[in-house]
Assembly symmetry: C3
Homo-oligomer: 473 residues x 3
């Protein structure tokens, strides 16, 4: 079989100019092996409570990765043939090896995308494969990966240790009982995996499972969650429960960044419409808006860092939503305003010095125009890293180019991998470290920064900022 | 006479870094001489039906090129002195040689613009001129170009062959009888020139010539175009007639990308207002919106590729519109939403796999935020190349940098010259090939792509993608 | 004491690629020492009428610079400890040396920001300091700067001459009596310092000092400024008075770029609501909009160049506004529309050839989409340089990359320092010259421009364009 080699070039992602590249290389050498701090992501905690082996390449690497199947779908491939679950979790009766072959055959679609960088890193570094993925090597890959996964060394906990992850935050809904986290903490395993409080399910009345989530929210807290005061008390209880499972942060994924500053009477009246089922779309938005302010108030009290991830039009493809449900690669970013949207909340908590609110965006036009000026002024605001579609070499470069001059480096918070693809975590952090070192190297090469400052900053961007921002000891 | 040399450097538009430049050079060598495929543009088909010689530099190169006279006008030059036609086509009594001299004298205004790159290419490559254009060489240019145009070698068909154009699509209105195309096809000349169905004139009720266009539309189809069903039938007939003249695509130049998904009853009622003259501005917009969905439905039936070119505020300069009419360089891009705007249409045809809708934009902020995520998901959507003001080295570079990581290369469709300036077609394709090779070279130099992959992609971006997207055999 | 050296590298801000850097160096050598033309800024004219010595580093360099204290505030520092005045001008009882130490200790916050570049230039070039600012050198800096300021050579007029400033425009409100300018002109000192007409205070009825400004406006003009005709006459008188103090330009800092084109009757009715105190927020906006058109009309008459600086949400931080008032680094840019907003004014004056309106933006997404196409068409429109948050190396680079291909270089107007930080003026112009030379060098290196053209343009961007645009002899 004629195959092509798979190699990860040691200088990948560094600028070609020899002066700049040499500086980037030196900077990277200092941070390449620092432990991974992953303060925000979506890894499944059950993997680490059970430590059960994964079974095959398709179910581990392909089926859960919406970056992969959205691209394959965009080129006309049938999701059933890729083994992607239909609505309600029904998995099509697809041979996983056949799905993998289909993926391998279409691997050129990923040229120039971060998925390609991450996957090649997983193949080469995690599995030690030395030939490139293509139709001709699909079976070889499938077999090698399957065999590896059957070994002790590829169990979740073993990989966690091998990846030298110092801290990993998952994300759970307010209605989650955190059983897997409790089980991890009760075990004798020392891996530091914590949860994050994501209350969207009990805040977004437009979510189709709102009623069920509220029911569970009531059960878990014993509060009357259909009354405004009780509803807030339930949040307070659950926040405490999440903190007990190590959480240092909350996360909020609203369609917009809108906040509100209503009186208690207005809140009560609005909430009555929400739980009474008489709400309008404007009420739903206003309620989400008010809840960001309420969450900020609670963060002032309990010290949890608040993350706001706005701007995604979820489930844009009506046909696919009908057949396959949520999270199938059909979420599309929207233009997102921060300046007017955040003001009501900032009027309440803007000058707090012990509060940290981390802002993310899918709308890069807001980086230089809104986000950097906001974070470069308000004590409570920090900028999250380039997110989702922008978590990529060009996206990260634009993030630094468009935010640094106004917000500086110290109003940013290091890298988030924000992934459910556990095996790709080292790859993602490696890309971020390389891109940051490349950016710093350019500043040094252009005499905008001294070399010793860049060395200091490389460590800050990898380790210092994330630990301080997310309050990680 | 002291003149400066005019030379086209073989490495133009390649990055200065020697490693990257060498890679770009190698890639470019493989595509530099590939035949031109021009799937969208505005060349006048009568040139090729009559094959009459062009007469002079001013009427061929200056007067029809709004890129040129908009810049000259912006610096206070009188359009009359440049020989630009007034409203109603009245050509001012201007000596074309004097107009050319005025242009030559102001040629420095074009420094740093793509017009400068295209024109120098036309002067050097098409006419073989070896001194730079400036006041001192204006007459020399005027004479040389005039003499060349009088020869057989500079007749339209001869140049078409010399340029090695494999496929050229022009654009005609629904009310056009396609006589020139019929005449080209009836001739013994083998040049492949086809039409494109552009029905804006019978869809945009706000266009001042809507009534006349509708009349002609009725004549050509024999349908009752003032009744909804007959109006749709007329479109179907004309689409078939355009396909008979080689058309593989339709084109839609609306102010926004808004689409709609109305019931038949709503369509009938709306259409009654449109043809009854009782429409509001909102009706006009809604009708355009609904017609995009109707055109998409017809494309599912007849296989024509649909192009959407939204976002231009036409005829922004009221004074100039009064004196000189349309298409005088006074069209200004607007912020353009795609995410909400396209949803009604996508709810109808979004999951079709045999439909191709090519999206263009004048709002680069939509590249990474909206267009790449849409095209990287929906099977029917593809991204058109950098358009109009962005059809330029920096514009093309930004297009690749902001779309590739999310949409990949394979959801793009190669280059469009979109021009009426026939002589500049080789120059425009050359710029696109160079900029794409420069982008690929950077990915290779940064070890984000293998060299053999880049070589494959260079050919795809030049030839493969455009042929497949526009269904060109 | 272990200190680090402070050096300004001669190649700073030039690209690392040796070919490009060499070209940039050559271009820069031709413009590095050209006199400074500063057509727009906020330097205090009283410094030059009194020529009194400045006293210390804190009050001169730190306290008035909102770029500095906004960053320090964003990191939780107390403004009182930095000596920043509270609302009503009450200066906290802070030891200026202690404030300086606090600043020095936090100097790393400015890494990667233009403030760092400007300050290092001031320290090294203006004060001749050769060690870097840090906690350990805070006192050394404070003492050296204090000693220097006590000498004749550091008096305002002496520095003005040392900086080789050929022209400096300050900005005064319509209600300002211009006494300092009169005094400068009456003195035997030859420095060319002129005013700029900024009538926002008597146009923006939402400004808390509108009533007082109107009173003063009436006193200074003797007109009945509460009647529409008298109000316009007052503007005309004050514009003449400003021209007598050398003004060649007006300046307008509105929240949006909205203009209007009302009839006289509508103007009178609107103005009655404005001065009668019965206005709504929409009236306030409409009045500002109409006044841009009125100012444009007056500019056609009197030849003053009009500058529009829209898009800042002023005093965003409610808590800080309450405690510290305006201009405390809490102004945040907003998305800004130009295409629809400017049309009413352009319908009136758009085709004027002797009018110059210079457009600025805080919304970079408008560069390529709206501003370059507008300036590349309308004879009266020019593009101001990268402004405020974008007055930075990356911001200036993006400005050139996003505007040049459509508007060319000749529809831009050179550099504005727009600063009240007088000592940083040479630093700011130096950064602009270097970044422009770097941009030109790339065009030369990529064979998009000849070297002699770039040399010509470097001088134009430094000197020619600004003098012609602002009508400076």
């Amino acid at each position: 079989m004629m195959t092509r080699p798979l190699t990860l070039h040691p200088d990948r992602l560094f600028p070609a100019d020899p002066t700049t590249r040499a500086i980037a290389r030196t900077l990277y050498a200092q941070v390449a092996d620092l432990p991974i701090v992953s303060p925000h992501g979506h890894v499944d905690p059950s993997w680490f409570s059970s430590d059960a082996p994964w079974t095959d390449a398709t179910s581990l690497l392909l089926a859960p990765d919406h970056y992969l199947f959205r691209m394959l779908y965009s080129q006309g491939l049938d999701l059933d043939r890729l083994g992607i679950a239909r609505r309600g979790g029904v998995v099509p009766d697809t041979d996983p090896r056949a799905a993998w072959r289909l993926f391998a055959e279409h691997y050129p679609l990923f040229r120039g995308t971060p998925s390609r960088l991450w996957l090649d890193h997983v193949f080469a570094e995690v599995f030690g494969i030395d030939v490139a993925l293509e139709a001709a090597t699909a079976d070889l890959y499938y077999d090698l990966i399957g065999e590896a996964l059957a070994t002790e060394a590829f169990r979740p906990r073993a990989l966690f240790e091998r990846f030298r992850i110092d801290f990993l935050a998952t994300t759970e809904g307010a209605q989650d009982d955190l059983a897997h986290h409790a089980s991890i903490r009760a075990s004798d395993w020392q891996g530091r995996i914590v949860t994050t409080y994501r209350p969207d399910g009990v805040i977004d009345v437009e979510h189709e499972q709102f009623a069920g989530a509220m029911e569970r929210f009531a059960e878990l807290t014993g509060e009357d969650v259909h009354e405004w005061r009780g509803y807030l008390a339930a949040h307070a209880k659950r926040r405490a429960a999440f903190r007990a499972m190590g959480a240092t942060a909350t996360d909020h994924g609203h369609p917009t960044a809108q906040t509100a500053n209503l009186s208690t009477a207005e809140c009560e009246s609005l909430f009555a419409r929400i739980v009474g089922g008489t709400w309008s779309a404007a009420d739903a938005e206003l309620f989400r808006a008010q809840m960001l302010t309420e969450m900020a108030r609670m963060s002032v009290e309990d010290g949890m860092v608040m993350q706001i991830h706005p701007g995604s039009f979820r489930n844009h493809n009506a046909g696919l939503f009908a057949s396959h449900g949520r999270d199938k690669g059909a979420d599309i970013p929207m233009r997102t305003d921060y300046v007017s949207a955040l003001k009501p909340m900032l009027d309440v908590v803007g000058t707090e010095r012990d509060l940290t609110i981390i802002l993310f965006t899918l709308d890069e036009s807001s980086y230089a125009r809104e986000l950097a000026p906001l974070a470069g002024h308000y004590p409570c605001l920090k900028l999250g890293p380039a997110w989702w579609f922008h978590d990529s070499p060009e996206g990260m470069r634009r993030f630094r180019e468009m935010t640094t001059e106004t917000a500086g480096f110290y109003n940013t918070v290091g890298f988030n991998d924000d992934t459910r693809a556990f095996l790709s975590i080292p790859a993602r952090h490696d890309v971020a470290r390389r891109v940051d070192c490349a950016f710093l190297a350019r500043l040094v090469a252009e005499h905008r920064l001294e070399d010793w400052e860049a060395a200091d900053l490389a460590v800050e961007l990898t380790s210092g900022l994330v630990r301080r921002a997310y309050r990680i000891a």
